[in-house]
Amino acid sequence: MPSDPSKLKIVKELNRSDILFSLARLPATNQLFVGSSDFAIHSLDPMTEGKESKQFTGHQSYVAGLTLAGDQLISGAYDGRLGWWDVETQQSIRMIDAHDKWIRGVEISPDDQFISTVSDDMVCRVWNAQTSEMVHELRGHAPQTPTRFPSMLFCSAFSPDGQLLATADKVGHVVIWDVQTGSELATLDAPGMYTWDPKQRIHSIGGIRSLAFTPDSKRIACGGIGQIGNVDHLDALARIEIFDWQTGERTHELAGDTHKGLVERLVFDPEGNWLFATGGDHGGFIKFIDLEKNEIIKQDKAPMHVHDVAINEQHDTIYAAGHGKVIVWELKPDETTG
C-alpha cells in the first residue's frame, strides 16, 4: 500500500527538555537513537511514551550526526569526534578525533560500507563504516566566505546507487564526488541560500543545510533558506533548489509561500512520487512536493523546529527529532492507519 502524504498526521508527540540534532532508527522497529544538546545519545521508543532504555555518553558537545551500521551506532559531534558504539551494550567501541572543528553531519552509504562526515574545518572525510579507516579526504570548499569570515560545511548525501557523494556549504557551494575514487565530478552553486548583509548588520546567515539525490541519482536537491532581510532571524521562506548535477541546470526552485526557516532534511520517496522537506525557524514545518507537477501536495506546521528525521521501510511513518520534542508522523492511507 503506497503512502499518502495527504493523510499526514501526528500520531505521537513527546516533550523533552533538550534539543535533538540527530536521529537514527533501528530497522523494522520504533527504537530511535537521538543526538542531544546534553552531549549524550539517548535511545527511546516514542510509541511506548518515550521511556529511555539506554544512554551513550562520551561526546563533549552537541551530537549532530547519527547513523547505524549493522549493530553499531556511529555518532559525530561538535567536539570534532566520531564515535562507534555497540547498540546492545551501549559501550564505546572507539572514539576518534575526526575533524578539527564541529562535525555537522554523518551519513551512511546505501550499502553500509562507507560513512561521510562534514565539518566546519571544511573537509569531508569518507570512512570505512566498520573499521573507521579513512578512505578519502575531500577538499572542495573554501574555508572562508567571500567576506573573510569562517565558512561552514553543513551537509553531505550519498546517492541511492552509492556511486556519488554530495557536499554543501554555507555560501551555497555544492560539490559532487565519486565515492570510489574521491575525485571531484561537478560543482554547483545555489547562492540564494546564503545571505551576507553588508550594510545593516554586517554578518551572514543561511547556507545549504540539507541534500538529497533523486532516486535515479541524476539530480540533487538542496535545502536551506532564501534571502533574509533581517539576519537576526531565520526570517525568509524555506527554500529548495534541484539541479541536474551533470549539466548544472537548475530544474526546480521551490520556496512556497507559507513556511519560513531552514530546510534541515530532504527525503525522496523511492518511487519518486514525492520529496519531503522539513525544518523550521521558531516553529517547524513539513511539506511534500510533487516534482512532476512542481506543486506542494501537502504542507503543515510541525510542533517544533525539526533537525533530523528517519522514515520506515514502508515509507509511511516519519520519525522526527528537534527542539524539545520527538514526534511521529504517519502518512498511511485511511484503511491502514492505526
Binding site: R148, V231, D232, L234, D235, H282, G284, G322
Partner: protein, 437 residues
C-alpha cells in the same frame, strides 16, 4: 564660590582651579610644558601634577552593538543546558576560563578585568544602549552627557588639534541608539561621528576655497557670532562657537584617519575587516591625543543562529581586540589607555528554537583592560546556568563610576547647570574597588 557656567573642577582638598584655563591657556603637551619653568614650578602642586597625569589617559570603547552573548565570550557555562556547544578554555589566569571563541584573548588577560555580574535590567535595544552610554537613565528634563562626552570634557585639551571624541558606527542597525550625546556639557563635546568609512567625510578644505579665504570665513563667523552673542548669556551659543573654533584643528587631523600611513606589517596585523581597520585608526587617534574613541561593531542581535553568528563575530573580536591590546602595549600606550568592551545587554541563557539567544540584561559581562585596572581579575559571578547574578551584582552606574575612577576622574564630582548640581554618577554609587589598580 563655584562659577556654575565655567564647570570648575575641584581637587581633593577642596581647592578650586580652572583646569581648562591652565591647560588650554598653555595649549601644550607635556614636552612644551617641560620647557616652561613657571609651569614646572606649578607641577610641585600635587593636584596639578595629578591633573597632568590624568591628561594622558585615553579610552577606546569597543561598542558591541546588538548585545553579544556573555556565554560565548566572558562567562561560558559548558556542559550546562544553557551552555551551548562551545567549550571553555583555560586562560593565562589560574582557574579562569573563557569561551573557546576567544583563544587570543585567553592569553592576554594579564591587563584585563572581566566583570561577570552586570544586572542592568533594561533589555530593549534603545533603552539598553542609552543606559550603557550614559551610565544612568536619561531624565525628561536633563540631558546627560554620554561616556565619550564626559571623557572628552575631562581628559581633552582645550586647544587640541585632534578631535576629543570620535565614534565609528558603520552598520546601520542600531546606529540611532548609539548616537553621541553631549547633553548639558554642550555641543563642544559631541563626537565626530563616522558612519560610512574609516575616514571623516568633508574634512578637507574644498579646492574652490583658498586657505586665506577659509581663515577669513572663520574670522567672519566668529565676529558675527560674538556680535550676536553680546548680551545673550546662552550656553548653547557658546557651545556652538567653541565647536566652530576647533574646525581648523580638526581639519589638520585628517591624516590620523589614514591607515595607509601605517606600515603594511601593522595593517596586516589588524587585518582587512572594517572593525580591524577602525581599531587601528582608534590607536592612531589615541596616540595623537584623542581622549575617547568608540569603535562600534554591529550587529550582535542573534535571535536566530546565535552560535553561527558568534562564530563569525567573536572570532573577529578576538583577533581585533588582541591585536589592539598588543599594539597599545608595545607602544607603551596601554598603561594610559582603558579599553572597554560593552554592549547594551547580554543574551538569554535559554536557547530558542531558532538556535538563537534573545535579549538579556539580568546577568551579563563586560571587560576593562589597561589604564587604572587591576589586570588579571575577575569580578562577580553568575549561577551555574547564567540566569542570575549570584555574587557582586552591579549596574551601569557602578560600572561607569569604576571607569571614571580608573581614569582618575572623581565619579562623585558635580557639574552645574545653572545653579543645579548634577553629579557625574548618581549619589551613593560605589566603584568596584576589586577591579581597580
Amino acid at each position: 564660590m563655584k562659577s556654575p557656567q565655567r564647570f570648575l573642577s575641584e581637587n581633593a582638598s577642596g581647592q578650586a582651579f580652572n583646569r581648562r584655563s591652565f591647560l588650554g591657556g598653555t595649549s601644550l603637551g607635556a614636552s612644551a610644558i617641560a620647557s616652561n619653568m613657571t609651569i614646572l614650578n606649578m607641577l610641585k602642586s600635587p593636584a596639578l601634577a595629578e591633573e597632568l597625569k590624568r591628561q594622558e589617559k585615553r579610552v577606546i570603547l569597543l561598542w558591541l552593538a546588538g548585545g553579544p552573548s556573555q556565554l560565548e565570550t566572558w562567562d561560558p557555562k559548558p556542559g550546562r543546558p544553557t551552555g551551548g556547544p562551545f567549550r571553555s578554555i583555560q586562560t593565562c589566569l589560574p582557574g579562569v576560563q573563557i569561551s573557546e571563541l576567544l583563544p587570543a584573548m585567553s592569553q592576554r588577560l594579564q591587563n584585563t578585568a572581566i566583570i561577570r555580574s552586570l544586572n542592568t535590567k533594561i533589555a530593549d535595544h534603545g533603552g539598553g544602549a542609552t543606559l550603557m552610554h550614559l551610565g544612568r537613565r536619561d531624565e525628561p528634563n536633563v540631558k546627560y552627557p554620554d561616556l565619550g562626552a564626559v571623557i572628552a570634557r575631562e581628559l581633552g585639551r582645550a586647544n587640541s588639534t585632534v578631535p576629543d571624541y570620535v565614534t565609528f558606527y558603520t552598520a546601520t542597525e542600531g546606529r540611532s541608539n548609539a548616537l553621541g550625546q553631549a547633553g548639558f556639557l554642550g555641543a563642544r563635546y559631541m563626537p565626530m561621528f563616522l558612519t560610512t568609512d574609516s575616514k571623516p567625510e568633508n574634512l578637507s578644505r574644498r579646492e574652490t576655497i583658498s586657505d586665506v579665504d577659509h581663515r577669513d570665513r572663520a574670522e567672519l563667523q566668529k565676529l558675527l557670532s560674538e556680535r550676536f552673542g553680546r548680551g545673550r548669556a546662552n550656553a548653547t551659543l557658546a557651545s556652538h562657537n567653541e565647536a566652530y573654533s576647533r574646525v581648523r584643528g580638526l581639519m589638520a587631523s585628517e591624516e590620523l584617519f589614514n591607515i595607509e600611513q601605517e606600515p603594511q606589517a601593522v595593517r596586516d596585523k589588524y587585518g582587512p575587516s572594517l572593525f580591524g581597520q577602525q581599531a587601528l585608526v582608534a590607536r592612531r587617534l589615541i596616540e595623537a591625543g584623542t581622549p575617547f574613541v568608540k569603535v562600534s561593531r554591529a550587529w550582535w542581535d542573534s535571535h536566530g543562529q546565535n552560535f553561527e553568528t558568534h562564530l563569525e563575530l567573536v572570532a573577529e573580536l578576538d583577533h581585533v581586540m588582541s591585536t589592539l591590546l598588543d599594539d597599545l602595549e608595545e607602544r607603551g600606550l596601554l598603561e594610559h589607555t582603558l579599553v572597554i568592551t560593552l554592549g547594551e545587554f547580554g543574551r538569554t541563557p535559554s536557547i530558542n528554537p531558532s538556535l538563537g539567544r534573545d535579549h538579556f540584561a539580568s546577568a551579563w559581562s563586560t571587560s576593562l583592560t589597561g589604564c587604572g585596572i587591576k589586570g588579571g581579575s575577575v569580578y562577580g559571578a553568575t549561577d551555574e546556568d547564567g540566569n542570575t547574578v549570584k555574587d557582586g551584582e552591579i549596574g551601569a552606574a557602578e560600572l561607569f563610576a569604576t571607569i571614571y575612577k580608573a581614569l582618575g576622574i572623581n565619579p562623585h564630582k558635580d557639574y552645574f547647570v545653572g545653579s543645579r548640581p548634577l553629579p557625574l554618577t548618581d549619589p551613593g554609587t560605589e566603584t568596584v574597588a576589586e577591579v581597580l589598580a
